[in-house]
């Protein structure tokens, strides 16, 4: 599939002031290569200061890179940054950004609809559609200050969806939201991607959020992408496979050896340990081997007491990947 975003060797260095006339360089983004396909939900994962927001701003045409090349929707990131800005939507981390507190929820959208050049005859219908879609219809005449932070974030998302831009950048969309608000926003992000087919690039430092929402994830550390793949493949790269611990009845020494031989011979079994009262198997993928493992154990007359599966979380992958680069 043709990437809607394709950047190579992107570099951004900031000057950080440390006195009236003194400053030092800080590499916020350092040689990033990235291809994002149409319709994808892509996550940029990293700690604070990893370079996620800077990278998003460069891809959204708000910051000019110092080096590298790239195209967003076919537009060059150096020459056509104004066109890029006009054809992508960006929602900033804080819900209140861009929201006018002197206007009601609906008036805010009406104001932006004019600024975004929406045709007069389509404005009301589009606003109604978005208010309904984002569950804000009941609050359309409320002032932004009188609704929850989660709703204000949804209002910000509604604003960004007024124009049907093919790419939506969400910079930490659930930061500062309570659990319920964050959950609602996450549900809408998925819905926006599925119903409108919009490519979504989101930054987050909530690992479970990336795991739940993203088709692919790039882990950023000190301005570099240190890993970029689907969560499943990231697990595989780590040589850390889904494993299962089966607690069972007493297994004799000879039987242990025999069962081990049978299990390790199964296709897709990566490793296997058979002990006196437990069997540990890891598979790639685990689901494809578990049934056969249990069948073999039963065939050898072994009682099965419990089966526990253990998948490495994205958090584990993230920490392992980042720590392998010298972070604690």
């Amino acid at each position: 599939m043709t990437p809607v975003i394709s950047v190579q060797g992107l570099v951004k260095t900031f000057r950080v002031r440390d006195g009236l006339l003194r400053s030092h360089p800080f590499n916020a983004v350092d040689g990033v290569d990235l291809d994002i396909s149409s319709g994808e939900v892509f996550g940029l994962l990293g700690r604070n200061g990893a370079g996620k927001t800077t990278l998003i701003k460069m891809m959204a045409g708000l910051l000019r890179p110092d080096d590298g090349t790239g195209r967003v929707l076919g537009h060059d990131i150096y020459r056509d940054h104004k066109r890029i800005r006009a054809s992508v939507s960006l929602v900033a981390p804080t819900a209140d950004v861009g929201t006018d507190n002197n206007l009601t929820v609906r008036q805010n959208l009406e104001f932006w609809a004019v600024v975004y050049d929406l045709e007069r005859e389509h404005r009301d219908a589009r606003i109604d559609e978005l208010l309904t879609f984002l569950d804000l219809k009941a609050y359309e005449h409320h002032w932004p200050m009188s609704i929850s932070a989660g709703m204000r974030q949804r209002l910000a998302i509604a604003r960004s969806l007024l124009v049907r831009n093919p790419i939506l950048f969400l910079d930490e969309p659930t930061v500062k939201l309570d659990a319920a608000g964050a959950q609602a926003v996450r549900a809408f992000i998925r819905k926006i991607n599925q119903d409108f087919g919009i490519t979504i690039v989101l930054t987050t430092h909530f690992i479970f959020e990336a795991e739940r929402l993203c088709d692919r994830v790039a882990i950023l550390d000190r301005g570099k992408i240190i890993s970029c793949d689907s969560v499943t493949n990231l697990r595989r790269h780590l040589q850390r496979y889904d494993a299962s611990e089966i607690v069972c009845g007493e297994i004799g020494e000879d039987l242990c050896r025999e069962v081990h031989g049978r299990l390790i011979a199964l296709p897709n079994v990566v490793s296997c340990t058979v002990e006196r009262d437990r069997v540990e198997v890891s598979g790639d993928p685990l689901a494809s081997v578990l049934f056969d493992v249990l069948k073999i154990l039963r065939a050898h007359g072994i009682d099965i007491h419990s089966v526990d599966t253990d998948e490495p979380s994205l958090e584990e992958i993230f920490l392992t990947t980042v720590n392998s680069r010298g972070h604690v």
Binding site: R15, R64, G98, D100, F111, V114, V115
Partner: protein, 278 residues
């Protein structure tokens, strides 16, 4: 252009909504305009006879000279600071980047605020002048030519807006995110002293007169007084000279202002971004 204007009008509408949301602020602002002109009205009333010989050009009427001068200077002051203040307001409200990310960029926002200031100042100018003429006996020419008066108002507003835009470039070049911007602050000080807002130009020492003629305000105030007090339209050589000089300043300041602010924005995009300090 039509789309840009529509977006700008939308931003002007935001200002109106803010005023309607806080009507007391609006009322206080109106009173403030009357008070500022009122104070100088009484000062000029006191000094009228004393100043009259230096104002033969305007029929020796220091009161009308002062009221017109202060009123237009006040309008110019609000427009002069407008671009920088607009950027600062949006910046601290965390809206600058959002405005920048739409098709028309922050220009629709800045021009929208200008449209609002233009309309508000025009209404206030008419209100103060009508009140001054009817209630306080300020003598303006009964056959006041409205078109040249409006022409001076438009060109003067655009001229100071242009200077304001040059200053607004410093929002990014000098990182002046709040407080006073030195260029517009400096212009404001020079104008107060040298452009004849409060006193006739004839009292300014000859050696310093060059400063006077370097300021667009001098031509604007001179011209608008000729129109309003003497009723001299553009067929009058002095009025025409003042108007053309102001027009030249207007073109130059607008071109320089647009270039400076665009340059500042480009610098910010290439540097640390428009939404951060440093």
């Amino acid at each position: 252009m039509k789309r840009f204007l529509r977006a700008s009008l939308s931003f002007a509408w935001l200002e109106l909504k803010a005023l309607r949301f806080y009507p007391v602020n609006g009322a206080l602002q109106v009173v403030q305009s009357f008070v500022s002109v009122g104070i100088w009205f009484f000062v000029s009333l006191l000094l009228n006879d004393f100043a009259a010989p230096d104002l033969a050009e305007f029929g020796g009427d220091f009161v009308a000279y002062m009221v017109v001068g202060v009123l237009f200077f006040q309008n110019a002051g609000s427009v002069l600071n407008l671009p920088q203040q607009s950027l600062a307001t949006a910046f601290w409200d965390k809206r600058l980047e959002v405005y920048h990310s739409q098709r028309h960029g922050i220009w629709a926002y800045v021009v929208g605020r200008l449209i609002w200031a233009f309309a508000y100042n025009a209404v206030m100018t008419v209100a103060v002048l009508v009140f001054g003429v009817l209630a306080a006996g300020v003598r303006l020419d009964p056959g006041l030519p409205l078109l040249p008066a409006f022409g001076f108002y438009v060109v003067f507003t655009l001229t100071v807006f242009g200077i304001g835009l040059i200053g607004a470039g410093n929002f990014f070049f000098l990182e002046i995110k709040q407080g006073r911007e030195p260029l517009t602050w400096g212009v404001n000080i020079l104008v107060r002293i040298f452009s004849g807002v409060y006193y006739p130009l004839s009292i300014i020492p000859v050696g310093l007169r060059w400063v006077t003629w370097c300021l667009p305000h001098t031509y604007a105030l001179q011209g608008v007084r000729l129109v309003m007090i003497n009723g001299a339209g553009l067929e009058n050589a002095d009025t025409l000279r003042a108007f053309l000089s102001l027009l030249a300043f207007c073109v130059a300041s607008l071109m320089a202002g647009i270039w400076m602010l665009n340059r500042g924005l480009r610098n910010a995009e290439a540097g640390n971004g428009i939404a951060v300090v440093g």
